[in-house]
Symmetry: D2
Subunit: 363 residues, 4 copies
């Protein structure tokens, strides 16, 4: 091993720079050279986007949000849309060109940090012979293969802090506040922030919700002189019987600030059902940004160091994963397949119910 390249792909997640910091430092200490490919794979297409990274270059980046490797959303090299002079769009495959450049530049390993889309691309490159190591990145914490992903603790902290702020206002105004948080397939952020932030109701994709149960909880609060309620809704929550929320779909699907999103829908239902002043708020991108928490920094640094260890051992086409107290490697192919759902019989769900949080079902 002499020369490696690192790239970051997909959406923003707090901790990306900590991964880069750890990769650069632990690889450099092994005597290797490290390069960063800016804007996804662009550094492997255009020399101007390939940067040498030394420990000096990455000094102090661990606490920062975003990624020093710039915009991460530059499309799939295997299906790259291009426009000809007449403005017509076609799809081309530029993966060979990238692989050629990778080899010509003498790289021995590519560490690809990214979400499931980016990791699938990484796996495809591995199939073509590129020695690739994946580092998982999703603030949703919904990968079965790893106990935790970095960015999740920060997203939960941001959502919880928002709930803390909304409490005093909801209380001062005798209101119901409905807060929509991220979580299209699973309700990790909703459940964790809702419990920590003192929510009265938490609605998650894993449990189709019943509006009567929700309204009953809010009414019960009033009977106990608690004239306000906080409702946390994961963006992927669905009403029982399949109320379909018509929502736009952005390039990546999930982050769209949705007109008529589920949070607003729930707020309307509550307003109609119990005639109470009810407002809704979409936290949206706030959950992706900011300085990573200590927890996420430590996890991201460990991911980075472990990826270099894997490179050293020659374990390619695999992804780093956390299995406390260890770091392990799992085949990329398996890793990107399985999503992690909330265990409805687990201790966190049980705790939520026991401390009186309504999860939208009839208990």
């Amino acid at each position: 091993m002499r020369k490696i390249v690192i790239s970051t792909g997909g959406g923003d997640a707090p901790g990306l720079n900590a991964v880069i910091f750890a990769v650069v430092n632990s690889a450099t200490r092994r005597g290797w050279e490290v390069y960063g490919s800016r804007q996804g794979y662009k550094g492997l297409l255009d020399h101007d986007y390939l940067v040498r990274l030394t420990p000096e270059d990455v000094e102090g980046i661990t606490p920062t949000g975003g990624t020093i490797l710039g915009s991460t959303n530059k499309g799939n090299p295997f299906h790259m849309p291009v426009h000809n002079l007449a403005g017509e769009k076609s799809i081309i495959d530029i993966s060979d060109k990238i692989l050629d450049n990778f080899n010509r530049l003498g790289f021995d390993c590519h560490i690809a940090v990214g979400g499931d889309g980016s990791l699938e691309i990484a796996h495809n490159f591995a199939q073509k012979g590129m020695p690739v190591i994946g580092v998982p990145k999703t603030i949703d914490n919904d990968l079965e293969a790893t106990d935790r992903t970095f960015g999740f603790d920060t997203a939960v902290a941001t959502a919880t802090e928002a709930l803390d702020k909304l409490h005093s206002t909801a209380k001062s105004h005798d209101r119901v506040m409905v807060v929509e948080v991220m979580g299209r397939e699973s309700g990790w952020i909703a459940l964790y922030s809702g419990i920590s932030g003192g929510a009265d109701v938490i609605l998650i994709p894993e449990i189709p919700f019943n509006m009567d149960a929700v309204c009953k909880k809010i009414t019960e609060n009033e009977l106990h002189d608690k004239d306000y309620s906080i409702v946390v809704v994961a963006e992927g929550a669905k009403a029982e019987g399949g109320t379909v929320i018509d929502r736009g779909k952005g390039e990546e699907g999930r982050e769209e600030v949705v007109l008529g999103g589920i949070g607003e829908w729930v707020a309307n239902e509550i307003r109609q059902c119990i005639g109470k002043d009810t407002r809704s708020l979409v936290l949206g991108h706030l959950q992706r940004g900011g300085s990573p928490t200590t927890y996420d920094r430590l996890l991201a640094l460990r991911f980075g160091a472990a990826a270099v260890r894997m490179a050293d051992a020659g374990v390619f086409d695999h992804m780093v994963a956390s299995m406390p107290p260890k770091m392990i490697s799992v085949p990329l192919e398996d890793a990107i397949r399985t999503r992690k759902k909330i265990d409805l019989n687990g201790d966190k769900v049980l705790t939520a119910r026991e401390i009186g949080i309504c999860l939208g079902d009839v208990d």
Copy 2:
């Protein structure tokens, strides 16, 4: 002076509890008794809502959000809606009853903390003979009579922190992020948070905006390799020529999370105009909550102490106001009349322009 009562009215604002802390402590040290009227004037109607407040009772409340005197939004005693047994609504005036109770309970002064609505009610009570002192409360900072109001610095800090978080995401995704902040009549929160939070464009009610100027700024950014932009929009900003945004209007009007609000409208225009991935976010109630900043705590404590000083001096039907480095008293009648607009020739606007922020007009 022997016995005073304090009430908080109108929307939530960080610093309310600091005012209460200072009133209780400085009145108690003068040998007075202090009572709190919970839920606006309700404590002067119903004994259960009147609470004795000693320094022990208010220990440690300064850093907390909300108000220990509970919900603040209970209507105007001079125009109180009531429903008879048949469910018919009528408006009655219960101000005499409140005044009678006030006198019967032997109160010598009422310190009313509130926004312009609450201060007008306080003034009406003063006209009827109640010895009232007002403490201004608006997170919008738009009262001409006082240099600053508490809650504003906290609201600006919350909005700035949100902008900090959105920067990394906007950058990672090459996006335009449009953030709608509070400010129906004037753009104080937008201007302060936009400058501090590194916005590229700030749109305020004081300057009708031109979409061409906005889009030009975003396009210029791209020419300088800055492929993302942050746009801050005050909820009361308007396009040149009077584009009317159809927005719902809540009980208080202003805090509605607006479908088709101005932030979203601007985002749509940008998307259409330059075809760039553009998202919008409404900060809404987040700006009202949370622990007050040091600045707001100090200001609120000084307001409270000054109100007691005014009570001691017998200066009623007046409001506390800040005129650095002093606290002064201004007649309530004058105070609630005049709104403070941003000085378009002032140093902050000049600074914004000089460091390259587009204010929506053509320069």
Copy 3:
């Protein structure tokens, strides 16, 4: 089960109020009555210190620091110092009186939240027949029986935030900053905050340190144009060969702000060894205070709910413990015996070394 009492003992830890919140809510939902014993066991001696706790009483306490049950440090009921009229001190055992009161008041269970001292007392009461359940509390995270303790993540976050702040000053002044953090027997806070906060050197009790190795690391930094360094020292760190630091010992031993503590000693050594401007700082009690992080809130709430579950199942003389993803019960006797040391071959230590942090030994 009909009536339970909860007490908090030992030093402050962020998350105590979250435990109380969960206990009160989950017990109340089971139809039980909950009481709080203020000031340790004082509520079981003096009626004025015994308070009824309903969900209304504990609303909103989860995010707050400290404990609503007041001062926690009131001595051991089995060895209580008293003074007679002549001022002479003697030691008496008031445990029988407490047990009598407990029974006479009709309590069915005592949930004791505390550190090893408090848990040992709880165990002693269990031996005498009191149905006791322990909830572990130590910000040091050094209990073998449980994977994590609440308060630790908050302490690490506070220490990391301090390191973040010191970076810019150390850099601006070309200085070495030595920061002493808590950790008498083990270096958990030092290791976690040091890695996350970008320390150059981390000294922990588990690894006797060599000043030459420390100074070599700082000198190497300068060779790489990094003219400043950050050194994190656990208060219980020791130099190789047994340099004994003469430090005062307070009532509890550990929290004393130490004159001539290990941080200052290390700073002096660095100053003498390489003649560099070196300052030291003791974080001390800052690590114990403040609002719990989301992580600690969730953990503390789960501890509280699990303790009530144990009460329901009649599992006494045991302590709640976290064994992810479950909560389990362990006998109090075993739980308080074994301290958890950092695994020197574990992934966190490995990561620290790989990213270039000096752990004080010669590698």
Copy 4:
């Protein structure tokens, strides 16, 4: 005007990067070139330390602590210590060399950001003919010539946050906590943070303190069932009658972490006087670091923009100053002479006394 250089000197202060951001952006928009001199004046001695600064280079630096121009503490060019080959030290004047370089490089203006030491050097260069503009920098807020200096609000916020954290611990342990904050000549940080952070006692250099008054306040607290107290001490506070605290003096004097400092001295006195468990803590450098508050960012950006305006107008040998709502210029010579003391008859001191804070004197 075509080409300007900016330098930062003296200790770290949150907001330095915001000044640089504003200078670079507003100068560039005027069509000027901006350079940064790294490490004080070093960029005017050694080409390697002179960097071109464009808006791209300073993008995103406003929220960051420290200064991108590196170490600020490199001595006085008029009295520069040098060592010959024999190791003997002598003092030389390198100001001519700097001025020559400045002129040879074609600079039209030097914007010097710094404390009183740096501003005096700037004035000396102005006397020699260099067109210099000063920007004041002190977190102590003790310059008579300007209403406020950036960094102060952040330092107060850091100190207040520390007090918030110490409250719960002091309360849980029935302790007196003594916190030493910055302020050698005046007690601005102590007064502002002490009032905002709920201190019981605030000791400042402007009021020689009486230990009996301090202990009386703490004892009174206990009579009101408040068994803990928080004491804030400015590092320059002195006991009545001139108790001299023997403290070391560092290069800059003020920031030394002092053995036997005034905080510890006060803690000892309290311990002896009323036999209460009393601990002390020195906040030290924590007050200098971290991301600037919104208030400080706005002020620092305005300072930077105003400095460029002064350059444009050719107003040299002057310093930017804040006189709300304006920015003004004051002659450097006058500006660095007069320190601003706390007005003992002002509203803040009055408020402190009225809400029951002991200021160390006998009232």
